[in-house]
């Protein structure tokens, strides 16, 4: 007779509950929002390696260099903390700050992975000693989070250190608003700031070249994307959602709410994210009344500062979400109003709140999934908003055949209203926006190139049986190396010129297989989409001014993103940024010639390494 196993009745919990500020500490100071100011985050359970917390993805280190001290690391596994969902929210306890950044960061990673359909990786670390600069073998398991790294109204993701640095600063003494006059404001206590910064890191892990500003949209895209993820996360908090739905009577579009606002009051006192506040709606300076912002088709043409520009994209995507939400709730509203769709005065029924909240959560998670999925359909460098729209539409077409709920139309409409068009398209429809596939791409690969695809099946099979992020990282790297060797041969062989053209490469020049990822996605009809995404990059040095050999050197990058279907063994799309394109070179030159700041007059080189820090300080 087998012995009973001690502890057999236990199983690992799915979630860890941690208390935190819903948006930021300022909500607790307002009577209206005080009841929902603190919420309980449900973050995926994990075994910590040590206090910090230090887990699978994250490593919180509470070092405060400006005041030369450390703060003790919180042990979230301490029974005293487990029994009460972690520490209660408190601005004055550094250990709660550690808990808060950990909770929001974990949650954001979780939501991102869910939308992406696979595990995420941080960007690789610096090359091992003695290796070449482009060596990317350094696996970085954990992103570091320093909750009190800066004594500044700033927070940023540091690409070279793979770390988030959060700042703190004394609030304005004469601020009549939410903060204790002269009290300290901590950026790490703002859900929106934390979610925003970690999204920069997530995006960098996927697209490390999206911090190389080669046109007005690149950095703006980074900002906007970070805001989008933070914004849609609001819809995953039922307490906030129900409260705000009830308050706006379900009309999120025409009323100010925490749902359509990012780092609202908090952002104002720090100067961060103020543009976004204006993007969705703004308070009239004189009447103090909040008004939704009307989209202006000239904005995309006229605004160039990354935050202003990013706000256009955020507004477009939020607009698409609102249209989707409104069409989803139209039926419920008709039911609740005897067909008129016009709600009577006063508070709405809790059941209706529940229905509307469910619809909002669903719409938000769908829109976020579309936005994240599209990242696999973006060119590897030099992204523009128009191309991102094409990526969203294409990714969605691939997975969701029938757009019966009009999601794609909502997106196209929202972008059109803000004047965001892809450069080379004459008409704007879901069909024309879809990236060119084998049927309508003007460049074709040689049959020999397609012969390389079956080997990817083996890779995909191995990939699906590999566990652990590091093993996957190593496997992908090995495959990239194999793919590079194979391509090198292919491009040198017969028909190689044609294939180089197809891939947007200059034949005979060095190139890198920058990424190779397996994506398995399940559509709403239960259909399975098995794809491999391959990014190929080439880089060339040019002069800022054509023909002026004394002018600054600039790096021009090109290449493509290949989306290959593992079922049909076809290249579904080759999303090209041709390395040899003259027009693109000229556009990049014009953009870089216009860039610059007082900073660039006095400081030639250092700090160029911290693009996000500079962006957030407005030195872009």
């Amino acid at each position: 007779m087998p012995m009973p196993q001690p502890g057999a009745y236990r199983s690992e919990p799915a979630y860890r509950s941690l208390r935190g500020y819903a948006i930021d500490p300022s909500l607790a100071q307002r009577l209206e929002t005080a009841p929902v100011s603190a919420i309980t985050f449900k973050v995926p359970w994990e075994q910590f390696e040590r206090p910090g917390p230090v887990g699978e993805y994250l490593e919180v280190i509470d070092y405060d260099p400006a005041t030369r001290c450390f703060y003790e690391a919180v042990d979230l596994d301490d029974p005293q903390l487990l029994a009460q969902d972690g520490l209660p929210p408190s601005e004055g306890t550094p250990q709660f700050h550690q808990q808060m950044v950990y909770a929001v960061a974990s949650l954001t990673i979780h939501n991102f992975e869910r939308a992406l359909g696979r595990k995420i990786f941080w960007a690789h670390g610096p090359p091992p000693a003695g290796a070449r600069a482009e060596n990317d073998s350094h696996y970085v398991q954990r992103l570091r989070i320093y909750p009190h790294a800066l004594r500044d109204a700033n927070a940023y993701y540091s690409p070279p250190k793979k770390a988030l640095l959060f700042g703190y600063f004394p609030a304005s003494t004469d601020d009549p608003g939410e903060h204790l006059p002269g009290g300290m404001v901590f950026t790490c206590l703002s859900h929106d700031v934390v979610a925003h910064e970690i999204t920069h890191a997530l995006l960098d892990g996927l697209h490390p070249h999206f911090i190389d500003a080669s046109n007005h949209d690149v950095l703006a895209f980074h900002e906007a994307f970070a805001d989008i993820v933070a914004l849609f996360q609001h819809f995953t908090f039922p307490e906030i959602l129900r409260h705000q739905i009830a308050r706006t009577r379900g009309d999120i579009r025409r009323h100010q709410s925490l749902l359509g606002e990012l780092a609202g009051e908090f952002g104002r006192s720090s100067g961060m994210h103020s543009a976004l506040r204006d993007a969705i709606g703004h308070r009239d300076r004189k009447t103090r009344e909040w008004k939704p912002r009307e989209p202006d088709p000239r904005d995309y043409k006229n605004l160039s500062e990354p935050h202003d520009r990013g706000a256009i994209l955020v507004a477009a995507i939020f607009d698409a979400f609102l249209s989707i939400y409104e069409s989803r709730v139209a039926g419920v509203l008709r039911l609740a109003t005897g067909g008129s769709g016009v709600l009577p005065e006063g508070a709405i029924h809790p059941d209706l709140v529940e229905q509307l909240a469910t619809a909002a959560t669903k719409s938000a998670s769908h829109v976020l999934a579309m936005c994240v999925r599209a990242l696999d359909y973006c060119p590897p460098v030099d992204i523009t908003f128009g191309e991102y729209l094409r990526a969203i539409i294409t990714a969605d077409c691939d997975l969701v055949r029938d757009d019966d709920l009009g999601y794609r139309v909502a997106f196209v409409e929202a972008f059109r209203r803000r004047g965001i068009y892809p450069r080379d398209l004459r008409t704007l429809s879901a069909e024309s926006l879809r990236w060119a596939g084998p049927g309508n791409d003007e460049r074709r690969p040689s049959p020999k190139l397609l012969e390389g695809l079956p080997s990817l099946r083996k890779f995909a099979a191995e990939h699906s049986h590999t566990h652990g992020r590091q093993a996957l990282f190593e496997l992908e790297r090995e495959m990239r190396r194999a793919m590079h060797a194979w391509l090198l041969q292919r491009l040198a062989g017969p028909g190689g010129g044609k294939d180089a053209q197809f891939l947007g490469l200059e034949r005979g020049q060095r190139f890198e297989v920058h990424a190779l990822r397996v994506a398995n996605r399940v559509g709403p009809d239960g259909n399975l989409l098995r794809q491999v995404i391959i990014e190929i990059l080439q880089s060339r040095t040019e002069r800022l001014v054509a023909g002026d050999r004394k002018s600054k050197k600039i790096e021009v990058q090109g290449g493509c993103t290949l989306v290959a279907n593992l079922e049909t063994l076809q290249i579904s799309y080759c999303i090209r940024k041709s390395a040899t394109s003259r027009t693109r070179l000229e556009r990049q030159r014009a953009f870089l010639a216009g860039a610059g700041s007082l900073f660039s007059t006095y400081f030639a080189s250092p700090k160029a390494k911290e693009p996000v820090a500079r962006l957030h300080r407005g030195q872009g």
Partner: protein
């Protein structure tokens, strides 16, 4: 009327002498007199001062001191003896120098805090260490960069040596002395000018109208805070400079908090408590033995690349930039109009974007009398369009000439430009002056008629800039430059001498 604009060639700095009329009727206006050094021309400041005395016969009708930067005022101190013998009738400065103006006082306090914080930050960066690889170079470069920007307000030794540590927040004595000396120099009381209002038609300067374009009255614009500049943010930024200085003071002392606190006076304690984020009982001092054990990962050698010891100081470059930007934006920007034909000579000093942009504010309309009677409204674009001589702002750095609402509006066929600069001095400091794209556009806009105080006309043989244009363009520019050097009816003539460059016009 005869008009002469003279640019002295004393290196990286501004000194311009304007003369309207001739003989007994000549009126002399000196705009600034300073330098950060000259290596290209070797012109000494004393030669400049002597020439000013000789040319003006020892009498200036007006002295304009545009802003408190070494490269604009150093000469008033170094050549005090010569200037003492020059009679100055009146002195103009920007409203920002007016100690009875409360906005100006606020700006001064802010600037003082910035100087102090920037100096402490540079010292902290210099004293730091322990980082991996090339980060040391970055840190040292950053510290050196901040020091060099601080040169504009005078160097620290000068401040520290004479006034002690307490002077960290003060401008160096050199700059202060020069400003004060100028303020007291005029026979009449110094006038502090505000932008807009009426165009000035001083009776001592017949035939000339003067427009005060800047500095703007709005402190936000002086900080270049742009559209999103919120008054609250401005307050916050102003306070932060002071708080940061306190914080840096503690950091620089390199002592445990308790010990530092115990020594501090009551006022310092209050300030200190305000800038420390948490109650002291939460602190684990970095020197505590527990740290190396509990935070071994932070200090481990293989993770050295992820340390953040000095990152918080990287923002300090902002302080220096903010400071420089703010002071440059307090530049008294003037446009001189020759009433008879409407030609304009534009002297924006070192105005940065915030100052330039403010010229276009809706309220900036000047009502002037028309020749045939009646009045006429003048706005900044009119003045820019009629500009025939542009003294390029801030030694032709990238950000001190507004593009769309500045240079691109200057379309007069006679447009010429003066760039007071010494490229080799700037290059030694790793500053980009003249900025390549701007210099290129200036050459285009003026058909090659841009005179640099260090090297004169731009030329195809120039090792740095020769490659800016193909030979055919250079040929065209050379021909335009050749014409500009000849005497022609109702056209300006440029004479490039060893000590100065003259732009002379005799209107008919």
């Amino acid at each position: 009327m005869q008009v002469r604009a003279r640019m002295y060639r004393q290196g990286l700095g501004d000194c311009h002498l304007l003369t309207f009329g001739s003989g007994a009727n000549a009126r002399h206006i000196l705009i600034d007199c300073g330098t950060l050094g000259s290596t290209t021309t070797g012109v000494a400041m004393s030669d400049v001062a002597d020439d000013i005395a000789a040319t003006t016969g020892g009498a200036l009708d007006l002295l304009v001191v545009t802003h408190e930067h070494q490269d604009h005022v150093s000469g008033f101190r170094s050549e005090k003896e010569t200037f003492a013998d020059i009679d100055v009738e009146r002195v103009w400065m920007a409203w920002t120098e007016d100690s009875s103006d409360s906005t100006a006082k606020g700006l001064k306090k802010y600037k003082g805090d910035l100087v102090k914080a920037a100096r402490l930050a540079a010292a902290a960066l210099e004293g730091a260490g322990g980082e991996a690889g090339d980060e040391r170079d970055d840190r040292e470069a950053l510290a050196a960069g901040i020091r060099r920007v601080l040169d504009f307000v005078g160097n620290e030794d000068d401040a520290r040596g004479k006034l002690g540590e307490a002077a960290l927040g003060a401008f160096a004595k050199t700059v202060n002395e020069a400003m004060t000396w100028c303020m007291r120099k005029g026979n009449q009381r110094t006038e502090f000018l505000r932008p807009g209002g009426k165009a000035l038609e001083p009776d001592w300067l017949p035939g000339v109208r003067i427009y005060v374009l800047g500095p703007p009255r709005d402190p936000k614009k002086i900080g270049n805070m742009g559209e999103h500049g919120d008054p609250e943010l401005y307050e916050l930024a102003a306070r932060q400079a002071g708080d940061l200085a306190t914080s840096l003071g503690f950091f620089g002392a390199d002592e445990p908090f308790d010990a530092f606190f115990a020594k501090a006076g009551p006022e310092e304690r209050a300030e200190l408590s305000r800038v420390i984020p948490f109650d002291a009982r939460y602190r684990i001092e970095t020197r505590h033995p527990q740290v190396r054990r509990d935070f071994a990962d932070y200090y481990s050698r293989e993770n050295a690349w992820r340390r953040i010891d000095n990152d918080w100081l990287a923002g300090a470059s902002d302080l220096a930039l903010q400071l420089d930007n703010r002071i440059n934006n307090t530049s008294l920007a003037l446009a001189f109009e020759i009433i008879a034909d409407g030609r304009v000579l534009l002297f924006p000093a070192d105005a940065q974007l915030g100052n330039w942009l403010s010229w276009h504010d809706p309220g900036m309309v000047w009502k002037v009398k028309k020749a045939g009677g009646g009045t006429q409204e003048v706005r900044a674009p009119d003045l820019l369009r009629r500009t025939v001589l542009y003294k390029v702002g801030h030694h032709a750095s990238h950000n001190a000439t507004l593009e769309a609402h500045g240079l691109e509006l200057m379309g007069h066929e006679e447009l010429m430009a003066f760039i007071p600069v010494d490229r080799s001095v700037a290059t030694n400091k790793e500053w980009d002056m003249p900025a390549r794209p701007l210099f290129r556009r200036l050459i285009e806009k003026t058909s090659g008629r841009v005179v640099r105080s260090d090297t004169g006309w731009p030329a195809r043989r120039d090792p740095d800039f020769g490659s800016l244009f193909p030979p055919a363009d250079w040929t065209r520019f050379e021909s335009a430059q050749g014409k500009a050097e000849k005497k022609r009816k109702n056209k300006a003539r440029v004479t490039i001498g060893e000590l100065h460059v003259d732009w002379e016009l005799e209107t008919t």
